[in-house]
């Protein structure tokens, strides 16, 4: 941190000012002039919160994607299908048992098993052949999409939010002051906050596991040099299978999350594959903190865009990607 400030004093100042501005926008009651110029504070604040919580969902999908890529140099373009499949499994379990939590566990396990099968039956046979793996995963994603359309139909499914999570919660953030001097606070859907906290916890756990445990050390070593790691006697294939299972399982969990606060239907697979590609490109391939940063940036861009420039909202995301590719092609937080 201090080294960054020493090296880039001007950038640090700009970032600091931007953070201060944002903090003021979020905490202060907006003066009437500002409200007239850019709209009500409630709208802005909701868009910011929505962007961050949507970022949480994007992070769940993209972290698995980036983890698999980081270790195996394998661009798994069937990742979106794993997301969608997780959503369907979660729906099935939650309607059968009525338990939302159980849906997460089941989706994680089932999709992780699919991931293991993919690794054992497909990727292991074409290790190191990037192009072939990419083509095969594209093919698989098309086959999976049609299989799921066949099994679940074109209907859209929504996973029932548990009763204790339905409805809004009042946040200690003022959006306006009534003429009587009484403060109006922001009402925000509870389920989105809970899901966001969940993804933060998962992100932190993943970071800790990667950086503070022995298995994490092996995975990191594998990212740097697979051959040497294998030569030291580590069962690299087992590590691959574990990482693939974890990455796929995370996509499954994300499917349940997506089915809860949005909905799942055919086509969602490619949408989330595209989203995680953009997130990972912006954040840096193979980096977990990069995926988190990229997810929040893309989520915010989508939500703020949809409120303030609705016509061009879709373009904003890709504009960010183009900018990152032009200025820092390795991604914002890439290690190398």
């Amino acid at each position: 941190m201090s080294r960054f400030i020493e090296r880039h004093p001007i950038w640090s100042l700009v970032i600091l000012l931007a953070v201060a501005c944002l903090a003021w926008l979020i905490i202060a009651v907006w003066p009437p002039g500002l409200e007239e110029a850019v709209g009500r504070k409630k709208v802005f604040l909701s868009a910011v919160f929505n962007g961050i919580t949507l970022g949480g969902l994007y992070f769940l999908v993209a972290s698995g994607f980036t983890l698999i890529f980081g270790l195996m140099r394998n661009v798994n373009l069937a990742h979106g299908s794993l997301y969608l499949f997780g959503g369907y499994v979660g729906y099935g379990i939650s309607t059968a048992t009525g338990s939302w939590i159980l849906a997460f566990i089941a989706a994680f396990i089932v999709v992780a098993v699919v991931g293991v099968l993919l690794q054992l039956l497909v990727f292991r046979r074409m290790e190191g052949q990037d192009l072939r793996q990419t083509m095969v995963t594209i093919g698989l994603s098309i086959v999976f999409a049609d299989l799921m359309l066949w099994a679940f139909g074109g209907d859209f499914y929504q996973i029932q939010t548990p009763a204790w999570l339905v409805g809004p919660v009042q946040l200690p953030l003022m959006t306006a002051m009534k003429s009587s001097g009484e403060a109006v606070f922001l009402q925000y859907p509870l389920v989105r906050l809970v899901i966001f906290c969940g993804s933060v916890v998962i992100g932190v756990l993943m970071w800790l596991a990667l950086n503070r445990t022995r298995v994490g050390m092996i995975v990191r070593a594998g990212v740097d040099d697979r051959e040497i790691l294998a030569a030291t006697g580590v069962q690299i294939q087992l590590v691959f299978v574990l990482v693939f299972a974890l990455g796929a399982g995370l996509a499954g969990i994300a499917g349940v999350v997506g089915g809860t606060f949005q909905s799942i239907s055919p086509g969602e697979d490619t949408r989330f594959l595209l989203a995680s590609l953009v997130v990972v490109i912006v954040g840096g391939m193979g980096s977990i903190p990069g995926a988190a940063l990229g997810a929040v940036i893309i989520g915010l861009a989508e939500q703020l865009g949809s409120v303030y420039i609705p016509t061009y909202a879709i373009v904003v995301t890709f504009l960010i990607m183009v900018l990152v590719l032009a200025l820092r092609p390795q991604g914002l937080l890439a290690r190398r």
Partner: protein, 415 residues
């Protein structure tokens, strides 16, 4: 020798198709079986199948053969599907398409095949038949604006709404719906304080919901399919409590029988459409029965959606017109086209005839959503308005001055 053999085979194949064509009339059908409007497309096809069950597939000594192609509500997908049906499957008649933007594209495409006949399946953008209509394109359903007739008046006079906001999908059909609503509601003195447009296929409505104004009497929702369900779900999570008004595909069985309880926010919502679920009319009741008998309960809605009704009506019009000319498709199908132009069908949702642009003049319904006590939601008839034409009762010159439906047209004033 080989070449001779090839020639023989080709000749055999050709004679085969010729003999085939004498007995069959090939009709291409498109429906949105992918994407946001999948559920709408599926129920449209149910309406189509119901019509075949009721009317049969025989036209004189010929038999109708249907080829189905899937689209995703985008204009290019519709043109691609129609082109495939014509060029690959060699269909002679088209029953297409389902959605607004598709309709405009298919109408334009129809002009490149003047020899064929196009019967609109369900699309409802105004432009399709109002601007530069294709002489071989026939629409037996009303457009989005006609389907909103009566809603503005009911909202203003009976419900006492004075100021509303609208949220709609950003494409031609919803523009047309808001057009119809705004003309009537604003004409009476109502105000529309904001119009929000969201892309078709929007998943995250949270920011749109946050941007809804607080100081309005009601919020009009012009959404359909997955978008509508996503909106309602997130609206419930955000604790929304405003009065709602609905467009024709919002207050429809495609949404009213969706899974989950978010749809309960719609109870009491007023809407207008080309049909009402609980209409007493015997023809309607007969159609509902035929629809229910055609499919097992878990494979259909409790009652047909607007799309099922539209597909039923257009299939019915086509079959009746074909029977009138005894399946004669000679002379570039001119007899069939003439028959379609003047046919008057006794549809389940009221009598339908075509105007000089080959656009339907029909019956419209103002409805209110009710709970049947067992958790199923239906649209209940409030008012039936017969003989609604495309210019909504305005004379042609005044109507032309309003302009074409768009994000900002019409202005909220009396024309």
């Amino acid at each position: 020798m080989r070449r001779v053999g090839f020639a023989v085979v080709t000749a055999l194949l050709l004679s085969g198709t010729a003999a085939f064509a004498q007995e069959k009339i090939k009709v291409g059908v498109t429906a949105t079986l992918e994407g946001t409007y999948t559920v709408l497309g599926e129920d449209g096809m149910r309406g189509h199948v119901t019509a075949l069950n009721v009317l049969g597939k025989k036209v004189g000594d010929k038999e109708l053969e249907f080829v189905v192609a899937s689209t995703d509500a985008t204009p290019d997908s519709a043109v691609r599907a129609v082109r495939k049906l014509i060029e690959q499957d060699k269909v002679q008649i088209l029953l297409s398409p389902l959605s607004g933007d598709e309709g405009i594209a298919v109408k334009n495409f129809a002009k490149t095949h003047p020899e064929l006949t196009f019967v609109n399946a369900a699309s409802g953008a105004q432009e399709t038949t109002y601007v530069d209509p294709a002489p071989n394109f026939f629409r037996f359903n009303m457009d989005g604006a006609q389907w909103q007739v009566g809603l503005g008046k009911y909202a203003y006079e009976t419900k006492g709404y004075r100021k509303i906001a609208t949220v709609g999908e950003d494409y031609s059909f919803i523009y047309t719906q808001v057009f119809g609503l705004a003309l009537e509601f604003c004409g009476l003195g109502g105000k529309i304080s904001s119009r929000q447009w969201v892309p078709l296929g929007t998943k995250d409505f949270a920011s749109v919901i946050a941007a809804l104004p607080d100081d309005v009497d009601a919020i009009y929702l012009g959404l359909g399919g997955a978008d509508a369900v996503n909106f309602l779900n997130q609206y419930q999570q955000a604790g929304g409590k405003a009065h709602l008004m609905g467009g024709s595909i919002m207050i429809d069985q495609t949404i009213l029988s969706s899974k989950g309880n978010a749809k309960n926010a719609l109870i009491g919502t007023i809407a207008a459409s080309g049909q009402a679920d609980t209409w007493e009319d015997p023809r309607w009741q007969k159609f509902v029965k035929a629809y229910q008998d055609s499919f097992p309960p878990e494979k259909r809605f409790p009652s047909p959606s607007l799309l099922a009704t539209n597909y039923y009506d257009s299939t019915m019009a086509l079959i009746l017109a074909l029977r009138e000319v005894n399946g004669d498709l000679s002379d570039n199908q001119s007899k069939l086209k003439a028959a379609l132009a003047k046919i008057e069908i006794d549809a389940p949702n009221g009598k339908i005839k075509l105007d000089s642009n080959r656009q339907a003049i029909g019956t419209n319904f103002v409805t209110e959503v009710v709970d049947d006590g067992k958790g199923a939601l239906f649209s209940k008839v409030v008012k039936v308005i017969p003989d609604v034409n495309q210019t909504l009762g305005y004379d042609a010159a005044t109507f032309a001055k309003i302009g074409l439906p768009s994000r900002t047209v019409p202005e909220c004033k009396k024309y």
